[in-house]
Amino acid sequence: MLKILQNLDRRWIFLLMFVAVAVPLIMGTTFPETPSGEVIAVFDAVDNLPDGSNIVMALDYDPASAGELQPMASAFTRHCALKKHNIYFMTLWPQGIPMIQSSIDILNEEYPKTYKGKYGTKYVNLGFRAGNEGVIKLVVEDLKKSYSADIHGTNLDNIPLTKNLKNIQQVDLLCNVSAGYPGSQEWVLYGSSPFDIPTVVGCTGVQAPIMLPYIPDQLTGMLAAIKGAAEYEQAIINHYPQLAENPKAKEGLIRMGPQLVAHVLLIGLIALGNVIYFWERKQGTA
């Protein structure tokens, strides 16, 4: 048996992983989540603001990371919409524009009373600008030097939300969802930290250890990976039970099922690999 496992074709492992992810996804298995302190800090940062506050939503990710980050961006958008906040969308990633559109679709389809036909008064899409941290440095000090027009080419002086906005130090909260560089760390280093802009971020699991040292002084809270997204969704559902009926508001919770099975499979594979290793060592072949 051990000899068979020793020479196991890796395609069997791939098949196991495929089944481990596909079955819970197809079955739609979800598990209850308890929001952690970091997630509650994010929730409170959005929820404790008065209705109609100004929020910058910087969505710095691409389709490759959307599986992990889109649930966060959607949850941020829904939470802001429930609070009727004014939202300024922007991105430092060229592939981020369609990601912004997904959030705008949520506003228009799920909260039409507050947002449909209110472009420019309730939300605005600033789109993409090249320059990475250079863009951040400008928008925190002089927005219109970096963004003279929105994504549709309308001058910011002609848009009610941006007409009197000199820089994003004037907004109430900065929400960033990021898949890497430029992203959360750059927003903290060049935006929130030097100018004390309250900031919350959602990032990939790989970025989470990099962002942890900034909490709680430079960063109010963080959603780390799909687990953070699921906990945030749960926190929103706990406070706004009407969202429990919306399956789209549980994307993160649904993805925790495959995560659980895949993690257990990984542990099983690690254990099996080590059994083979110690057996080989005993045989003197390792």
């Binding site: 196991l8 890796r10 492992i13 791939f14 196991l16 992983m17 495929f18 992810v21 598990f31 209850p32 989540e33 952690s36 691409d62 389709p63 490759a64 990371s65 959307a66 599986g67 592939q95 524009i97 369609p98 559109q101 600008r129 090249a130 320059g131 990475n132 250079g134 863009v135 440095k137 400008l138 000090e141 002089d142 030097k145 970096s146 994504i151 549709h152 080419g153 309308t154 030097p194 989470a208 250890p209 990099i210 942890l212 040292p213 687990k227 925790m256 995560q259 659980l260 895949a262 993690h263 257990v264 499979l265 990984l266 542990i267 594979l269 690690i270 099996l272 690999g273 080590n274 290793y277």
Partner: protein, 242 residues
């Protein structure tokens, strides 16, 4: 001159940006410098495109192994560039109906949007998703308890893998708050997997990462000074005067 002028521009821009942090008078200068930088960054896309062309054409002309992939890359590049620049399938912007090309190149239903939605997005997601398969294979073949360090790493990996899922609740959710030995404060619930994960992240990962970040920051400060003072000129390319 080819080296002196870039050195001068770097030094002046760098020192102005440093000054903006301390002297309010310099803030506007700093913002101007950043606006120029952002414009140059946009031109980097053109350079990137040029470089892609050069590299792939070289491979094709030399008939290097895999040159067919280069041909596919170039065809895809030119088709995407064309539909994006020509805004194929894009309607004029409602604010500027008299200008045929004033619409957004990513407008829903346009050819570029279609490429992004149905080719780029699934391909990107597929590439990223492949990681799960390679990680599982690596976990089976490479993650061995060969020595003490590897064993510690392995134990921590198992705790975090379980602690970040509902498995922690299944396995250790029943641990009570009763103290283990007398009244020393340590309880059974302290050993819940999610709590152990939190301890690992907050008490081990965060201080370690903080130390690394401080080291990196000191390195960046020292390297930046070298660049600004012209001591380190490696970013200009070869040392030979052009």
């Amino acid at each position: 001159m080819k080296r002196t002028i870039p050195l001068f521009i770097s030094a002046v821009t760098g020192f102005v940006l440093i000054a903006t942090a301390f002297i309010p008078k310099f803030v506007d200068w700093g913002n101007d410098a950043m606006a120029w930088f952002n414009l140059l960054a946009a031109f980097a896309f053109v350079l990137g495109g040029g470089n892609l062309l050069k590299m792939q054409l070289q491979k094709i002309s030399a008939q290097q192994p895999g040159w067919g992939y280069s041909a596919v890359t170039l065809i895809a590049f030119f088709i995407t560039l064309f539909v994006g620049l020509a805004k194929v399938g894009v309607h004029p912007n409602v604010n500027f109906p008299e200008f045929a090309w004033s619409g957004d190149y990513l407008e829903e239903g346009s050819v570029f949007w279609w490429f992004f939605e149905y080719i780029f997005t699934p391909l990107s997601a597929t590439m990223f998703a492949l990681l799960a398969f390679y990680i599982s294979s690596a976990a089976f073949r490479a993650f061995r308890a060969k020595n003490t360090e590897a064993t510690i790493l392995l134990i921590i990996a198992v705790i975090v893998l379980l602690g970040r899922t509902y498995a922690s609740e299944w396995l250790t959710g029943g641990f009570s708050n009763e103290p283990i030995f007398g009244e020393n404060g340590i309880t059974y619930s302290d050993f819940k997997l999610d709590h152990l994960t939190q301890i690992i992240m907050e008490d081990f990962t965060t201080p370690g990462m903080r130390a690394i970040k401080i080291g990196i920051a000191l390195g960046v400060a020292s390297t930046s000074l070298k660049v600004l003072l012209g001591v380190d000129r490696s970013y200009l390319g070869s040392d030979q005067e052009a």
